[in-house]
């Protein structure tokens, strides 16, 4: 049991990272519009997050330093502040959307408008951060998120034409009626969603909160290599469901409820119930990740005491930042902004800011002064360098593509 619970940090990070409200809707929307022809972008992204999350966890375990600590040290105060500004803003956009996402999941079961649920969901997120032990939080929401495996069951239950699904995924082409720019815009959205920086901020800080040391490097690997592929697998399942059910009927997706449709069709009420539990856990997990990351990044930039290992009054500024982030996110959420649109923008904008976060991780993971014999192997460096090039290219083309395609319209 303890071994099983040992991987919940990775599961929570990945489920919150891959299945937050924006990703849920984006995966479904892409399936409904492009079939499986963009699956490669998701798989490319999961490879990148695997390599970099493993490095960030390893650095945290060996040197006790979370990712934003490395950013400040290696980029210097000025570049790190630029990164902090961008990361905090993107994080905050995601937080707005997730708090609304939890409320929408509650609306799906209650028929009470999500705006009425919003204050309660924001309060719940804050209370969990304020009072609940890190490992309990990780276990509860990580395990609850596993309800989403129902998505894969639904795909199997629909007994689709596997060969045509596979053909769609392995022979990517731009479907008729869609432009190349739009196709690549969505490719970047999927890639950016897989590699959102808050995953490494949260995962590496979580490793420090869990007091990982050199002895936990095995646990780090298991967390990463189970958690993130699971997240990607769930995303792919959603995409496949949309390809099977929604694409032929010409239904487009822009709401959370629509993403739950295919699973309901396949598995009825039980399916719907599990999907909603899963959506709730995933959006809640993402809300925890982003609000904690708001505090982690700021505190790690300025060197303040942070984390849930000490009493809240001993990390006062950290908790003040988290509280303020949640409160302001609630107020903006109450203006009834479309949470899906908000995360779509945040994912794409985060793609533009990726290099500033991932480069310092790669540098420190190669530094023998800190890492001793736990530095990167040659193969790891080759893969990581490949991804760094991809990340730089993505960062450069993201904003122009966003303008040209009018954000994928």
């Amino acid at each position: 049991m303890k071994k099983l619970l040992g991987v919940t940090l990775g599961v929570l990070t990945a489920v919150g990272g891959f299945m937050d409200i924006g990703d849920i809707v984006a995966s479904s929307a892409v399936g409904a519009r492009f079939g499986m022809s963009l699956a490669w972008a998701l798989l490319l992204g999961v490879g990148g997050i695997l390599v970099y999350a493993e490095m960030s966890g390893r650095v945290a375990a060996v040197s006790g330093r979370p990712t934003f600590d490395l950013v400040r040290e290696r980029l210097g105060a000025r570049m790190a502040l630029a990164n902090l500004g961008a990361s905090f803003f993107i994080n905050f956009l995601t937080l707005i959307a997730e708090v609304a996402g939890i409320a929408i999941a509650l609306q799906l079961v209650s028929d009470v408008n999500y705006l009425l649920w919003l204050p309660l969901t924001a309060l719940l997120v804050w209370v969990v951060i304020w009072r609940v032990k890190f490992s309990v939080m990780e276990n509860v929401f990580g395990l609850m998120g596993l309800a989403l495996i129902v998505l894969a069951v639904a795909v199997w239950k629909l007994s689709p034409d596997w060969s045509s699904l596979w053909h769609g995924a392995s022979h990517p082409k731009v479907v008729s009626g869609e432009g190349h720019a739009t196709y690549f815009y969505y490719a970047i959205a999927l890639f950016g969603a897989a590699m959102t920086p808050y995953e490494v901020f949260f995962f590496s800080s979580g490793a420090v909160e869990e007091k990982w040391t050199k002895r936990d490097l095995g646990e780090n690997k298991i967390n990463v290599f189970l958690g993130f592929p699971l997240g990607a697998f769930l995303s792919l399942s959603l995409m496949a469901l949309a390809t099977i059910v929604l694409e032929p009927r010409g239904i487009s997706v822009d709401k959370l409820g629509q993403a739950a449709l295919p699973a309901t069709l396949a598995l009825g009420k039980v399916g719907l119930a599990l999907v909603i539990v899963g959506f709730f856990a995933a959006t809640f997990g993402a809300a925890l990740e982003t609000s904690l990351s708001a505090g982690y990044t700021v505190a790690q930039f300025f060197g303040w005491q942070w984390g849930k290992l000490v009493r809240p009054r001993d990390a006062a500024r950290f908790h003040l930042v988290v509280l303020a982030a949640i409160a302001v996110a609630l107020m903006i959420g109450l203006t009834a902004v479309d949470p899906v649109k908000v995360t779509e923008y945040s994912i794409v904008l985060s793609a533009a800011a990726l290099p500033l976060t991932y480069l310092p991780i790669l540098i420190v993971a190669n530094d023998r002064d800190y890492m001793g014999d736990k530095v990167n192997r040659r193969f790891g460096n080759a893969v990581a360098s490949f991804y760094l090039v991809v990340i730089f290219v993505v960062a450069i083309v993201t904003i122009p593509l966003m303008i040209v395609t009018k954000a994928g319209a």
């Binding site: 040197s63 006790g64 330093r65 600590d69 400040r72 040290e73 210097g76 105060a77 000025r78 790190a80 502040l81 304020w130 009072r131 609940v132 032990k133 890190f134 505190a299 790690q300 930039f301 300025f302 060197g303 303040w304 005491q305 942070w306 849930k308 290992l309 000490v310 009493r311 809240p312 009054r313 001993d314 006062a316 500024r317 908790h319 003040l320 509280l323 002064d369 800190y370």
Partner: protein, 150 residues
């Protein structure tokens, strides 16, 4: 901070024990091994960053020596040129009513490794003021602020 990029023979001038015992004495680069690092106090509490360094030029024209670590918004402001830096510095001065940031003489530095460990308790540092403000005005008024999280 161009001087800080020059090698400084810190361990020789201060008799400083390095973080990992058994290591060969190594040449520390102030810009790489000190600047922008996390400061920890004797209880392993986080106590700010090394935001700036106070250097003393060597008489013989050799590399300068680090005499103190500077920490806090006032010191950080000096890393930013232009309007933003001046603004940050003026805000800091108005809030703290002091011109100098936390100055930690180098003799209080105990170890330099992943973190910079000092022998001063974090509450004694100038940078603790803002933390105290956040604690006294907001955090302590919320029920459960003093509970250990487990």
């Amino acid at each position: 901070m161009t001087e800080a990029d020059q090698p400084l023979h810190v361990h020789e001038s201060s008799g400083l024990p390095l973080a990992r015992p058994g290591d060969q004495p190594r040449e520390l680069r102030a810009g790489l091994h000190l600047l922008d690092h996390q400061i920890l106090d004797p209880d392993a509490r986080m106590a700010g960053k090394v935001d700036d360094l106070e250097l003393e030029p060597a008489d013989d024209g050799g590399p300068p020596t680090v005499v103190a670590i500077l920490s806090g918004a006032g010191a950080l402001a000096r890393q930013f040129q232009g309007r933003f830096g001046r603004w940050l510095e003026s805000v800091d001065e108005r809030l703290t009513h002091e011109e100098s940031p936390s100055r930690i003489p180098f003799s209080y530095v105990e170890a330099i490794g992943s973190h910079v460990t000092v022998t001063v308790h974090h509450e004694e540092l100038q940078t603790a003021r803002a933390e105290r403000w956040a604690r006294d005005t907001v955090i302590d008024h919320i029920p459960g602020a003093g509970h250990a999280p487990h």
